[in-house]
Symmetry: C2
């Protein structure tokens, strides 16, 4: 079984040629040095680290997994060494501010790093994957005293972090959290409660772990507005162990390299982060960053699955293919069979378009942070708000379903563990659930971000996407679909779904189809952008582009038809 190899040339093509990231970033004073050379160098160094250090550990991560014993978690072989090398080389701090010990590089480079890491070793990547969100959360919400103690450790990744949200009775609905925080005389709070599904709640990767915990003060109102955020470390500065204890780790379908912990807090002293009752606010920055990362996981895992299937299809012969080149009595390569070509090309269409959408999202985050012009920041903010849930839901969905399709390329061998493709199917499944299930992303897009402003933001975005395209055949096709959907939204969906006599559940029935339709439109835009890029005329890009319009795009009509039925019903 071959390890994952970062596709740095493909990634660079999207970043530098399709999105012209250097030009966009260098317009920001904060990233004046982010020229093509620098970005290329960081990308290649990232790829080298991922391929040499992280990818080879993936199989043991699955087969041996994280082991729990007496409250301690031993990570799979090599995991700790790889993590120590990772943070010491400065990778977690890539996009952190220089004053916090970071390198101050653009978010988009960090995004690409995490895409590769997830592809190479999803389980290992879960732990550092939360770091940047925790860093932003502490930076923007913690007191100066707390920052002095924790910010640089988290920025550099010397200490890893967790998000302790979910409780046994409260999954997606954080407002039901019961964990208590009782004020202590020294200004700290004693936290008591049980949190579940805590990725990296306990492990031996780093010397300390910083838990960010949602809890309720004694006088807090019920519901989400009663939640505050607290920081409880595994070890205090004097070396004593806190009463944040891992009770057990879950036996899961996959992702065995990441310990999913049940954490018990027994009057564990910690500090408040931000204001009382503003816990969800403070955590929001972490959750948004996490959703982009999960979308990138989807892209990475799909690339990993495609690589395996593509290599197998080029090496293994099976049956005669129509128009195949095999001699009599021999078989053709699997890649020559139309049903298998279709699978491979459709996944490439998803991966390539996914990169355009995801890297653009990361660029918009950089623009949002550093651009001098408020109007431009508003554009960036709109993009991130609307596109992030689509990216998270549609690309994690495709990671699982596409990995399963890639498994099919192996025939019976795909079901056998030795080829490693079934691990990707198992590992990727959870990304459709965590950081807000894909159904919750759909509700976020339609009910929270489209209906309340009468579709204004989404219609603006659709218009921007359409205006962004040129006059070639593919661009014209994508434009007409973008404009057509804007009309559907304006004339059909909004009038029906926002009238007072519309059934309360109508938007909920529409939400999943709506998100899928928007995802396909983003892909149409992305493929038109790729198609207009010099260098995209090669077979490699043309095949994937044809794959998009032929095997992926037709779902759009089905989704609109389903929405029409729902609206008519």
């Amino acid at each position: 079984m071959n390890h994952f190899q970062p596709a740095t040339a493909d990634m660079a093509f999207v970043l530098q040629s399709v999105l012209q990231a250097p030009q966009q970033l260098q317009a920001l004073p904060a990233h004046a040095e982010a020229d093509t050379d620098l970005m290329q160098q960081v990308l290649e160094e990232s790829g080298k680290f991922v391929a040499e250090v992280v990818a080879p550990l993936n199989r043991d991560g699955d087969e041996i997994g994280a082991q729990f014993r007496d409250g301690a978690v031993t990570m799979p072989p090599g995991f700790r060494d790889a993590y120590q090398a990772f943070w010491q080389a400065g990778w977690p701090a890539l996009a952190c501010a220089t004053e916090d010990g970071g390198q101050g590089l653009p978010t988009v480079l960090e995004a690409m790093l995490y895409e590769m890491l997830s592809a190479a070793n999803h389980g290992w990547t879960m732990a550092p994957g939360l770091l940047h969100g925790a860093y932003e959360c502490i930076k923007h919400h913690a007191s100066d005293e707390l920052k002095a103690r924790y910010l640089e450790k988290v920025a550099t990744g010397e200490w890893l972090a967790t998000m302790c949200l979910t409780e046994p009775h409260a999954g997606s609905d954080l407002g039901l959290c019961r964990t208590k925080a009782v004020p202590l005389p020294d200004g700290r709070y004693a936290l008591s409660g049980t949190k579940i599904f805590i990725s990296g709640g306990e492990h031996d990767l780093s010397d300390n772990i910083v838990h960010l915990v949602l809890a309720r003060l004694p006088d807090a109102p019920p519901g989400p507005k009663g939640l505050s955020l607290f920081l409880v470390p595994k070890f205090y500065e004097d070396g004593t162990r806190s009463a944040a204890v891992c009770e057990r780790i879950e036996e899961k379908m996959g992702l065995h390299g990441s310990p999913t912990c049940v954490m018990r807090f027994d009057e564990a002293p910690g500090w408040i982060v931000g204001e009382p009752g503003k816990g969800l606010n403070a955590m929001f920055v972490m959750m948004n960053a996490a959703r982009l990362h999960v979308g990138l996981q989807g892209i990475g895992l799909l690339e990993a699955a495609w690589q395996k299937a593509d290599a197998y299809s080029k090496e293994r012969r099976q049956m005669r293919a129509p128009g195949g080149s095999a001699k009599a009595g021999e078989a053709d390569l699997i890649e020559q069979h139309p049903a298998m070509r279709r699978i491979l090309d459709a996944q490439r269409a998803w991966i390539d378009a996914g990169r355009v959408v995801a890297y653009r999202t990361a660029l918009e985050l950089d623009i949002l942070k550093h651009h001098g012009d408020a109007t431009r920041r508003e554009v960036a903010s709109r993009w991130c708000a609307l596109v992030t849930p689509v990216l998270k839901a549609a690309w994690t969905d495709q990671a699982f379903h596409g990995a399963s399709a890639c498994l099919q390329v192996f025939g019976g061998h795909g079901f056998v563990r030795e080829w490693g493709i079934e691990q990707i199917v198992r590992d990727s499944r959870v990304a459709m659930i965590y950081e807000g299930t894909n159904e919750i992303q759909a509700i976020d897009l339609l009910l929270r971000k489209t209906l309340p402003d009468g579709g204004a933001a989404l219609l603006t975005l659709l218009g921007e996407l359409s205006a962004d395209l040129g006059g070639d055949e593919q661009a014209v096709r994508a434009k007409s679909q973008l404009d057509g959907f804007a009309s559907f939204l304006r004339e059909r969906l909004l009038p029906r779904a926002t009238t007072k006599d519309a059934p309360a559940d109508l938007p909920h029935w529409l939400a999943d189809d709506f998100l899928r339709a928007v995802a396909l439109l983003l892909m149409a835009w992305a493929w038109a952008r790729i198609g207009a890029t010099p260098g995209a005329g090669t077979a490699r890009w043309q095949t994937a582009q044809t794959g998009f319009w032929r095997w992926v795009w037709p779902e759009f009509g089905m989704r609109v038809a389903m929405m029409e039925t729902t609206l008519a019903g």
Copy 2:
């Protein structure tokens, strides 16, 4: 975690009310006694055995699995006892001829038994699942001497059987098989070669195992016409062990309760079954029966997944649902959330329609075997030839994807092993591959069974389905779709795909969409039939029917659109 409970009432409704099986079967002299009471009694007894004996072993089958050591395979706890009870109670012989030690009951009852068994414990069911095919193969192709030795043992299931087809270098393409059979002076043949993916190649369920092995005589021509079929037992009658040896078992994604063996034959003496060079013919009867069984596995596994998700959705509360009934500060049941209802209802639509199609197929097999009228037998033969690949491919596809959707209903808990839903996702994946991958089923339907006769058989079937429906609203809708697709086939697909200048690969690009479209048409017919059945007006059936037209059917338009694009390209 609850064990699977056979849905005998739902199954009986389809069998007795929708398909009116007793009336159809009693018209056959061989099944004159198959009245409603008898069928109901067998169904209920089957369900009882499945629920009490087989279902409780499913979890250990996954967690402990089949264990290989020094050439022997130890099955998971309870598996052997359950199997001994199974054959001694006469279950494998249900549909075998009375003169062979069977009960001579209709095939459809056997089909329903295996649907329940697969739902309850897919791994355990793999071993007996091959028995009936092996029985038919020996009965119709073996010499009288061989039958005297093996037929009754296989009919009753006292000895289990295998199909040894695949070799390391030859998966779907059996013509490449290299296993050799060299004549011995005593009239037997010495078999040498390696076979892979042999389900139940070695185990401790039964006291002997009968291997049916494809191999090549010394003077055989290359390709499929050089293959003959041989019988090699694990133990000969004098108690000596044959040289059919299990080298190892595969580590798999799932189905751990079924040992997937690499079998080595070291000049193992065996007998020829049927004529030299007619091995594929003799095996064909096994493969056809196996495809129906795999389709039933799909239906059963989907039912099992639905049961788990349905129960969870009725017991667990999460967030507020639109129009939900929860009090302030509380949450609604998961089943009240539209996105979850959609998942549950769509799976019910697939399961119920799947039963109509599968039981009808089994009935047609009974008719094919026993009907006195050649014209009626021709109708039955057409149905089985055309519908079996559709059933196999579409319902195993849905088992996996639908089980994954049901996992989503559990949120994060679905990814955790304790609820058992992730086991169904893992187990069901292989059914899309074995007994001919789903892509091969699609090629079978379009390239082997539709194009060669200019679509005649399929057009006749579509006409029969349409004529079978009445005049109510749903029937009219289904009829118009069936007739519309017949026109598409006659006027668009056939003229283009059968002209001499059509590209050789055109039908291959169409095949997958074509099979899906036919599957959806069969479902439309099935739902119209259910809708016209007295008793189907209850919420249970109405909800699933609405689920079909709303969430399943729209794929049809997408498939036709994809075929149109392919035809135009």
